[in-house]
Amino acid sequence: MTPLLQVRDIAKFYGHRMGCTGVGFDLYPGEVMGIVGESGSGKSTLLNCLAGHLVPDQGRVMFDTRTEGPRDTVTMSEPERRMLSRTDWAFVHQHARDGLRMGVSAGGNVGERLMAVGARHYGDIREQAVDWLGRVEISEDRIDDRPSAFSGGMQQRLQIARNLVTGPRLVFMDEPTGGLDVSVQARLLDLLRGLVREMGLSAIIVTHDLAVVRLLADRLMVMKDGHVVESGLTDQVLDDPQHAYTQLLVSSVLQV
């Protein structure tokens, strides 16, 4: 089986400071990969490099496109990359405000990607928006409300709906549960897990919350100071951490 995403030796520097370096992995279709690490460990830098928001200084990111097989997204042309990012890719921001159009209704937010790929039938767009709002547990009568009238958890769910409406194959998530209270977090995770399994999505989830990766991720990568210090199956890494930093991370989780 061809990996959906092959990452080889990615490095990104901010002047003399290092963002991340020497990162490589394969992601297979239907697999969820977690990236954990403390603040400043290069997680988000790495994610942005993979999603095409930042240009890595070194390395390759091969994505298995639908038509042409594996292509290097770093060197592909910008129109192609932007096309990918609104069809086959999705990006869930930590702050829903970064990923939503706050001045546009919930329905418009969900419909934007459809219209961006050429949907020109209002009734169909509306129907799909209703369907997707239902899937993320937002009631239909909120479809014409603006996201600013939504709670934080609803905004985050709306952002997820907006991203998944075009049936992407790869989802990048940057701390999708950050800033939400625990009960809302739990519901969101439940929802994400359901969607990921149901749609057979591949996902890369960056988080510092070990509970999130325990629930969602098949595999785990632990980052520290821009390097990957440990990687493996989620349960393996969390239950039997080998690297000193991973051990520290696992032992730092508060027990209730």
């Binding site: 219209m115 961006a116 014409d144």
Partner: protein, 289 residues
Amino acid sequence: MSDYNFAYLDEQTKRMIRRAILKGLAIPGYQVPFASREMPMPYGWGTGGVQVSAAILTPDDCMKVIDQGADDTTNAVSIRKFFEKTAEIETTEATNAASVIQTRHRIPEEPLREDQVLVYQVPIPEPLRFLEPRETETRKMHSLEEYGLMHVKLYEDIAKHGAIATSYAYPVKVEGRYVMDPSPIPKFDNPKLEMAAIQLFGAGREQRIYALPPYTKVVSLDFEDFPFEASKADHACDLCGADAAYLDELIIDDAGGRMFVCSDTDFCQTRRAAGHIGAQGAPFEEAAQ
């Protein structure tokens, strides 16, 4: 001879503007940046249109200026005077007698000919401005033809009002490529954008010129199930009786009285002179006395 260079602008500036116009004509709908000059009038009064007109005028031209279709409003009168003074050209109020027509917010009712040029005053040339505030991003969207956002605006209209409520500055797609703001003309005028005359658009403050060559394909954006409709007040002109012209609604007393009149004053006057009378109109000769 007046003390001004012909048509106010110096020759180098006119040359620069002509180059922008030619580039705009070569790429219909593309916004060409140009070094807009300060004009002796405030921004918003048609500084862009005036510069474009100044660059294309010749001493033989006959100029007409309209503001919302009217020849006799402050803006139209002062721009006409401006060119009478600085270019010493002939001016007219008759659409068919003019070779250059500068307009604000309307296209004349009478179809234009191949030997005429229509110059628009444009306040905001960027159709995506209110959807995406970053100019760097909108330029990228134009170059990559990413126009999904434009439909989000129309979607919002239908979601909110049950129909596409955008009634002026209605976005169009030019020759299947660039999405263009036709300046704030009513959407009633959109179908007329495919015409025989050259159309030039000048935005002074925003420093952009764009153009439509004659017979360019111009399509108003819409949804399959909510097609574009060139709407106007459902009424006939109360002065001349025209039922297919764009109308202004006038409040005439404080008891709810109103009348609808053609916004194109020359069109209305011509019709009345030819004997057409609307519901509240008086015969033309009588009214003139």
